[in-house]
Symmetry: C2
Subunit: 230 residues, 2 copies
């Protein structure tokens, strides 16, 4: 059954937004009386029925609300945006499919991009949530400097960085908890950035033997933390 | 130091191919006497020096050959191509970065695409090998039917499919060995395809609680097997 996204259900809205309506009418050819499922992206799944449908609108009534509990761990990945925006959109899509609670973008000294198109990125996340049958849209923060990022609270804080001190693999370092992982830019974190993070309690970790692109490193970190906990 | 790809080094070739030469000259602005590293994609890393360089050619001499041993496990993922070719190219890039020995494409009953552009896919793999500083290009097979795929030898054979028999998670099922994992199309494997595979010794496995797109499932399977072994 198709899953639709309507964040304003808790506020009483019982119709789909423009693009979702179009999809319901033109692609899925839903008719009055057809069942559908919806999520508000905030943890609820709604079973509903189409009550009225036209070329550009789709109204529904809700028959059942199922509240899905939060996971007993949470993942926050803060990543330096890649020069190529496709790679960041891809990253957001994939971590949303696999499971993530929060995504941040870091302005690093070696960052090649300092701007994030929040609208496009959010659309990718919504589409991935629907695709994966999930009920929670990750919180996506606008880009901010590393000082703001490393001041965020988390039970376990990691910075993906391999140096001669031979850091532990993330899979050995992580316990079940609320995680924040920092992923550096293509030119890596500067020593000053690493020092700032370690002073704030971030532990250096490895993500395995391969040299990974930024977006691959972000995905791999998120997948490791999911695997440990599920 | 830049890593170049020249598969014909074992055959005595000591110059870069056209695109690699262009990259050396135009982007990296290498000059005669500059050091470079090369791989043949077959397990060797070569330390070399530029001997002669022009607008369209780059000759080198090899000073040292380092043979990198094979991994003590191997991963072969056979995947049904997605309708969107970008998603398959992305899959090949990411699994090559993370580490994989063989990639096959399966013609399934529910496949939306039956053609693979081997040249484009191979270019993606070469670029990922260089990016990740690896010395082995995965073997990429042209698309073939499921009977051919499931007749391939492997120590442990898995088919990613969740049903009411509640299959084990891949991370619990896999031992250190040579793996072959089948990843189905967007419309999933048919029951007949699953039966054929299980008759040939394939074990049904889950890849986690999320509903993943085909290319994400392929990546996640490859990453799990890498994580178990490294």
């Amino acid at each position: 059954m198709p899953l639709f996204y309507q964040p304003l259900i808790p506020e009483g809205i019982r119709s789909l937004e423009h693009e979702e309506s179009r999809h319901a009418v033109k692609v899925l050819r839903l008719k009055s009386g057809d069942p559908l499922q919806l999520t508000d992206g905030k943890g609820s799944l709604y079973k509903a029925v189409v009550t009225e449908i036209s070329k550009s609108s789709c109204h529904f009534s809700i028959s059942e609300t199922i509240r899905i509990p939060e996971r007993n761990f949470s993942i926050h990945v803060a990543i330096a945006p890649t020069k190529n925006t496709d790679r960041m959109e891809w990253f957001v899509e994939k971590v949303t499919e696999i499971g993530i609670e929060e995504i941040s973008f870091i302005q690093c000294e070696n960052s090649e991009r300092m701007v994030i198109n929040m609208e496009r990125i959010t659309k990718k996340a919504i589409s991935a949530v629907k695709q994966a049958g999930q009920v929670r849209l990750p919180t996506i923060h606008p880009i901010s400097n590393i000082e703001t990022i490393i001041a965020q609270p988390a039970d376990q804080k990691f910075i993906a960085h391999v140096d001669h001190n031979n850091p532990k693999h993330l899979k050995e370092a992580a316990l079940q908890s609320n995680y924040l992982v920092l992923i550096g830019p293509e030119g890596d974190f500067t020593q000053q950035e690493i020092d700032k993070a370690t002073e704030k309690g971030f532990e250096k970790v490895s993500l395995g033997p391969s040299i990974l692109r930024t977006e691959t490193a972000g995905l791999v970190a998120c997948h490791i933390l999911n695997l440990i906990n599920t």
